[in-house]
């Protein structure tokens, strides 16, 4: 049975989903994004991925949410600070569908649940960057995990249906009943490494080869693990392993964390949903997170300096 998917926020990660899913004959893909040039190029020339995979998909792109037809699934891939505006604009298309987030950080599901009935918690590891309108460089392949959001769950069969389509499209995705473990592993990984790159200007690999900074990352990981543990979340694997794996030359040694790219371009960062998210949960649960709070304050200070 054919399904209709709308990718909400077609930046690098959103484009990976949109282009790959659009190659399937039984999936109709819409791409909603506010970047007019990217939308126009996608409609004119298709959405092209290069690098880790060579893909040309032809989703229907629009910057006008009113054009969106009713969809079976939404995949929200905006920067975390734009979730509210994006889902408020597009919620009508998901009145009968399920909406998944594949965004960074924690707290996105809660925002989606204020606007739609059935929410899917998600975490994705692939990464890339838009190199020109309609063209995305696919830097890193990786897995995606989806699961029902506890407060407003999508039916598990629907989670499986979306995961199956993504997997078949070349984006390996698993459906699990509790998706918090992978999500917290990733948010802890991101919060322990991205701001260190953003504050120092170092790539991931160079952050990790300085033993003093690597220990700082471990302090951030340990605080994050304590906050996850206090919620009864079992991490699916140790974020420390991911940090060391990513530091390998063939993986992401030279990768500038997205937060460093944001700082260099003087764009607002996702710090509120990474270190800020962990510190917020820590505060509510009574788990001290002094290092996350310090890093959060410093990056907010960087943003304020512009």
């Amino acid at each position: 049975m054919a399904i209709r998917v709308c990718v909400v926020g077609c930046g690098a990660v959103g484009s990976l989903f949109a282009a790959n899913l659009a190659t399937l004959g039984d999936v109709e893909v819409w791409a909603y994004d506010l970047a007019r040039e990217h939308v126009d190029a996608t409609n004119r020339d298709g959405l092209r991925l290069t690098g880790a995979g060579e893909v040309l998909g032809r989703p229907r792109a629009t910057a006008d949410a009113a054009e969106l037809p009713p969809c079976d699934f939404g995949i929200v891939a905006t920067k975390a600070m734009h979730t509210e505006a994006a889902i408020a604009a597009t919620a009508h298309a998901f009145a009968g569908g399920c909406v998944a987030t594949v965004q960074n950080g924690i707290g996105n599901e809660e925002v989606l649940a204020r606007h739609v009935e059935r929410v899917i918690r998600g975490t994705t590891f692939p990464a890339g960057k838009i190199t020109a309108p309609g063209v995305v460089q696919w830097d890193v392949k990786g897995d995606t995990t989806l699961g029902p959001f506890e407060d407003r769950p999508a039916p598990f069969s629907e989670v499986e249906r979306l995961a199956e389509a993504c997997t078949r499209a070349g984006m390996p995705t698993s459906a699990v009943h509790d998706a918090r473990g992978p999500q917290w592993r990733k948010v802890i990984f991101n919060a322990a490494t991205n701001p260190l790159g953003a504050l120092t200007g170092l790539t991931h690999g160079r952050v990790c080869e300085r033993p003093d900074l690597r220990r700082l990352a471990t302090a951030l990981v340990d605080e994050g693990k304590a906050v996850a543990g206090a919620q009864g979340i079992t991490l699916d694997s140790d974020p420390e392993e991911l940090i060391d794996y990513a530091a390998r030359p063939e993986v992401a040694y030279d990768h500038k964390a997205s937060m460093l790219q944001d700082v260099e371009a003087r764009r607002q960062t996702e710090i509120d949903f990474l270190n800020g998210g962990i510190a917020g949960f820590g505060q509510r649960l009574g788990v001290p997170t002094p290092t996350h709070e310090a890093i959060w304050a410093l990056v907010k200070g960087v943003e304020a300096s512009w």
Binding site: L213, A294, S305
Partner: protein
């Protein structure tokens, strides 16, 4: 005291040399040959809170300079060791005064000779426009106290000389409380400015929102105050109050460490935060936030070098 040598002629050294040359014979020890030549030819021009030009005798080795009665070591903190090494064996009767940020500069000098030493902390500031031109910006005082082999009377004598030149100075029986107040203040404000890019502005005192920067500033100062307490020092001014007052004045000072970041120069973090962390470890006081700031600033310095760095920063 009629003969003074200023070793290290940056902002602070230029101000001392130019002002003192109005009341004493001033020589200047520089690192660069062309800097010494320019000083010998043009002297030092002061603008801002002063408008005059002074003549000095400059060279890159102590042997080429007349023997002074007072040496003011005014180089950057990281250069105290090489400068003191250069002075070793020279001028055994001169009093040597250090003016660096942080604590412990006098102890570094002490390792290179038996000179009587004075410790000081300076609050004056300026902007260096050229090798031979310095703008005098903040006319706040230099506080001087005895260290190895000197007495409060020596401190008063040097303070009086500096006062007579037009700069502000004050002698103390113990200058450590002032040094520590400035250390805790600088270790916090300089590193926060260096990492955020913010000038010292009202963000540093903001406490309204949980993520406001004031919380971090206060937590860093609380760590520093705990180290001072453990060192047996009663601070003469509360660093947090200094911070609030300074940001209320609306001057938006760019701390020197922020200027260093702008210019991608090595910062003084080793002398400032480094000396605080070393004292904290010696005294067994935990300072995790200052260690974090130290590591981040050292890593930021490393990012300006293209090659990868395998050695860790270790205060």
């Amino acid at each position: 005291m009629n003969r003074v040598c200023v070793a290290g002629v940056g902002v602070i050294g230029s101000l001392f040399a130019a002002f003192l040359a109005r009341v004493a014979d001033v020589s200047a020890l520089t690192r660069r040959e062309d800097h010494a030549r320019a000083l010998n030819e043009e002297g030092i021009r002061v603008s801002g809170r002063g408008d005059f030009t002074s003549r000095v005798t400059a060279a890159t080795t102590p042997g080429a300079l007349p023997e002074p009665e007072l040496v003011i070591v005014a180089c950057k903190g990281g250069d105290v060791d090489p400068v003191a090494a250069q002075l070793a064996g020279h001028w055994p009767d001169a009093i040597v005064m250090t003016v660096q940020n942080g604590i412990g500069a006098d102890e570094i000098v002490a390792r290179h000779g038996d000179w009587p030493l004075l410790a000081s902390v300076t609050f004056m500031s300026g902007t260096r426009h050229a090798d031979t031109h310095v703008e005098y910006v903040l006319d706040t005082a230099t506080w001087i106290g005895p260290a190895r082999g000197t007495t409060p009377a020596d401190a008063r004598r040097v303070a009086a000389l500096i006062e007579s030149s037009g700069l502000k100075a004050e002698a103390f029986d113990d200058v450590r409380p002032a040094q520590w107040s400035k250390l805790v203040f600088n270790a916090t404000v300089n590193t926060v400015a260096a990492l955020t890019g913010l000038r010292h502005d009202p963000h540093f005192a903001a406490l309204d929102d949980p993520r406001d920067l004031g919380h971090l500033v206060r937590a860093l100062m609380d760590e520093g105050k705990a180290v001072a307490r453990a060192a047996g020092v009663t601070l003469d001014e509360d660093p947090w109050e200094m911070n609030v007052l300074a940001t209320q004045r609306g001057y938006r000072h760019a701390p020197s460490m922020l200027e260093d970041v702008w210019e991608k120069r090595p910062t003084e973090v080793d002398m400032i935060t480094g000396s605080l962390v070393r004292e904290a470890r010696r005294l067994g006081v935990p300072v995790p936030l200052h260690e974090t700031m130290y590591r981040l600033v050292k890593a930021k310095e490393a990012s300006w070098r293209s090659e990868s760095v395998s050695s860790a920063a270790a205060p």
